[in-house]
């Protein structure tokens, strides 16, 4: 019974991390229609910058958490303006390919700047111990991650459902032209969404690095995971992404616990099953 509680905590912390990472790519895809295959690279850039700030410069963790997401967001902004905006007329597929090429470029850039070694970032000192819950030791950082995840999820959900900005987003997901016709500057919305998506990727990068580590090539693994969550949850909706992240977190954690040899296969089988049975995802807004 208590191991189940431990697994649940693990699944939740992993799931919320997935949520933070995937929300960015989901929003961008839903609004801009562009599947940003460089999203994993943005996450990894966040981890690398976090590493430079915390480990190399010795500054505290919260400084990284404050600065890095904005740096990533600005980089995303620049990318959107110089690469995506002039090429919208080429179509969605072309833009996806552009981001794929970008991911390749980022890969080598990272190796040139930070080298090829595998690195880790230590969590802040006050979260580096373990807490006992129901007879199990759980690292407090993971508990903190659950709390932070819930807060971010709540903020995003509230923004999307209850505010005017959220209404614009929801409308843009359903019918872009109409929104443009109503006088909203759709290009501004696109740029802001991309900015915001990159911001989330940066937050994910900093928060995730103590758990997932920082290694060259991991951007592709992160990307695949986000795609799984994206598919399961449906496009663009925050609630869908929350549900899907937690579900994937549960499935991965528990399958690794009960049937470790099959855990790889199960995750992709889940993805395939959702695509076959309910292609728009759990709470998707588009078929």
């Amino acid at each position: 019974m208590d191991t189940l509680v431990l697994q649940l905590m693990n699944a939740l912390s992993y799931g919320f991390l997935l949520f933070i990472i995937t929300c960015g790519i989901s929003l961008v895809f839903g609004i801009l229609g562009v599947l940003n295959l460089a999203h994993g690279s943005l996450y990894l850039l966040g981890s690398y910058l976090g590493y430079s700030i915390v480990v190399k410069s010795g500054l505290p963790f919260w400084v990284a958490l404050l600065i890095v997401p904005f740096v990533i967001a600005i980089i995303g902004l620049i990318l959107e303006i110089i690469l995506l905006r002039p090429t919208y007329k080429l179509g969605h597929l072309s833009q996806v390919l552009l981001t794929f090429g970008l991911a390749y470029i980022f890969h080598d850039l990272f190796a040139m700047i930070w080298g090829k070694n595998i690195m880790t970032v230590t969590p802040p000192a006050f979260l580096s111990h373990s807490v006992e819950i129901m007879g199990n030791m759980i690292p407090s950082y993971r508990l903190a991650l659950i709390v932070v995840g819930i807060i971010i999820a709540a903020v995003l959900w509230y923004t999307q459902e209850k505010t005017k900005w959220g209404a614009v987003i929801r409308a843009g997901l359903s019918d872009k032209e109409m929104v443009g016709g109503l006088g909203v500057n759709i290009h501004l919305v696109f740029t802001l969404v991309f900015f915001f998506g990159s911001l989330l990727a940066g937050i994910g990068g900093v928060l995730g690095s103590p758990i997932l580590g920082v290694a060259p090539g991991m951007e592709f693994n992160i990307l695949i995971l986000s795609l799984v969550v994206l598919v399961v949850g449906g496009l663009g909706s925050v609630s869908g992404t929350i549900l899907a992240s937690l579900l994937v977190g549960m499935v991965e954690t528990f399958s690794r616990f009960y049937v470790p040899e099959l855990s790889l296969i199960i995750t992709f089988a889940l993805m395939a099953t959702v695509l076959i049975i309910r292609p728009q995802g759990l709470i998707g807004r588009r078929a």
Partner: protein, 412 residues
């Protein structure tokens, strides 16, 4: 029609131009088959001042890149110490990036053999790469000194006259700990490793030795390679009825596993033992104080107290401003073995069979202790050391607490 005629003429001219270069594949491959009968020299002319070319197939990109880099560092350090010259001949290393991808490695091997005409091959890191190039190496009679990849089969079912391994075999790593664990840790152990061939081979060897000594493996669990989250497995291991956990992980897996071993409360409660890669010089800095108390088996350690090792460590740190890792030592030793073999031949590397024979006869006092080759299996015979990690201030260090001398791979 005129255009067609013009095209034909252009093609003809092109073909004639190319035929002027007579190094066509047809001619070289027919020469090769003649060579098999006459065993004529194919590479460098012994009497000329041609440099001796060593091909290094090592990854410089991808997940094993840092290991490849360390092996290169070790090799270059050695050759620099002897002035990049053996028996009057210049030594050249031609490095090709395998990306730890077997397909790419085959391509690069072909380039090294056919374009660069290397005399001897060394590397790789990944066992998959070693297996992939094995047939090609054997077919072309290329002397191959394996300086890392430890898959057992390379010196067993896939043995070749031309392949000699100076690094280790998974068996040597796992087996050497078995008896020691039974004598010093206890009778019941939980086994865990990364789910790939290396993990399986090392733990299987440990299991054999441990159970033969009288111990019992209560359970085994394998985590996917590159796994982030060991919590599920650690929960399973957190039992009161076992004396220890034997773990085989390397690289990022080792970093995360050891960190999480502490985070989930097993450190201090259940002794952790395993292979040296759990607490290697290049993983410990990332693990904080978590590796304290881990006991591992490995064939070289930074703290090994021999004059050869002290000299090696000093030279390495002076040149690279970093501590040598296990792979650095492997590279250094490989270079030393190659140099010694070349020297016994007086620099004449034209006959691969003689070169391989000289390699097999090399016996050295290397930084890892006395090493020599098993003539039948072509696997290195070396000491394995039991190493313990302790806390030194706020960092961790290793110390050698026991030695398992002259570990021989059974060869089948």
């Amino acid at each position: 029609m005129k255009r067609v005629k013009r095209n034909w003429l252009i093609m003809l001219a092109f073909v004639l131009l190319l035929s002027a270069c007579s190094s066509g594949a047809i001619s070289t491959t027919t020469k090769n088959s003649e060579k098999d009968e006459n065993s004529e020299p194919t590479t460098s002319d012994p009497s000329s001042d041609e440099p001796i070319k060593i091909g290094a197939l090592l990854p410089s990109t991808g997940v094993y890149a840092s290991l490849g880099e360390n092996v290169m560092n070790g090799m270059e350090l050695y050759f620099e110490e002897i002035g990049w010259e053996v028996a009057g001949k210049e030594i050249q290393i031609i490095h090709e990036d395998t990306e730890a991808d077997p397909q790419v490695s085959l391509r690069k091997l072909r380039k090294l053999m056919e374009q660069d005409k290397i005399d001897i091959l060394t590397g790789p890191i990944s066992t998959a790469v070693a297996y992939a190039i094995r047939d090609e190496v054997d077919k072309n009679k290329l002397p191959f000194l394996v300086s890392h990849a430890g898959g057992n089969d390379l010196t067993r079912s896939k043995r070749s006259d031309y392949i000699w391994r100076s690094s280790f075999s998974s068996y040597q790593i796992g087996h050497s700990m078995g008896q020691w664990a039974y004598d010093n840790i206890g009778g019941k152990i939980y086994l865990t490793a990364a789910d790939y061939a290396f993990g399986h081979e090392a733990t299987a060897a440990f299991k054999d030795a441990y159970t033969a000594a009288g111990g019992e493996i209560v359970e085994e669990v394998f985590a996917p390679l590159g796994n982030n989250d060991f919590s599920s497995y650690l929960t399973k291991m957190n039992r009161d009825d076992i004396d220890g956990v034997y773990a085989f992980f390397a690289g990022t897996d080792a970093i995360r596993f050891v960190q999480q071993y502490e985070q989930y409360g097993l450190k201090g409660k259940i002794p952790l033992i395993g292979s040296g890669w759990l607490t290697a010089e290049d993983t410990r800095p990332q693990q904080g104080t978590a590796p304290e108390g881990i006991i591992a088996s490995i064939f070289w350690d930074y703290s090994l107290d021999t004059p050869e090792n002290k000299k090696f460590v000093e030279a390495y740190e002076a040149k690279y401003d970093a501590r040598p890792s296990i792979e650095s030592a492997e590279g250094y030793d490989a270079a030393a073995i190659i140099a010694k073999a070349i020297e016994s031949l007086n620099g004449d590397v034209s006959d691969p069979d003689r070169l391989v024979e000289e390699i097999s006869k090399v016996e050295l006092n290397s930084p890892r202790g006395p090493i020599k080759f098993d003539q039948e299996t072509h696997q290195i015979i070396q000491n394995l050391y039991i190493v313990e990690t302790y806390l030194d201030g706020d960092k961790t260090e290793n110390k050698v607490i026991d030695t398992v001398p002259e570990v021989i791979d059974p060869g089948k």
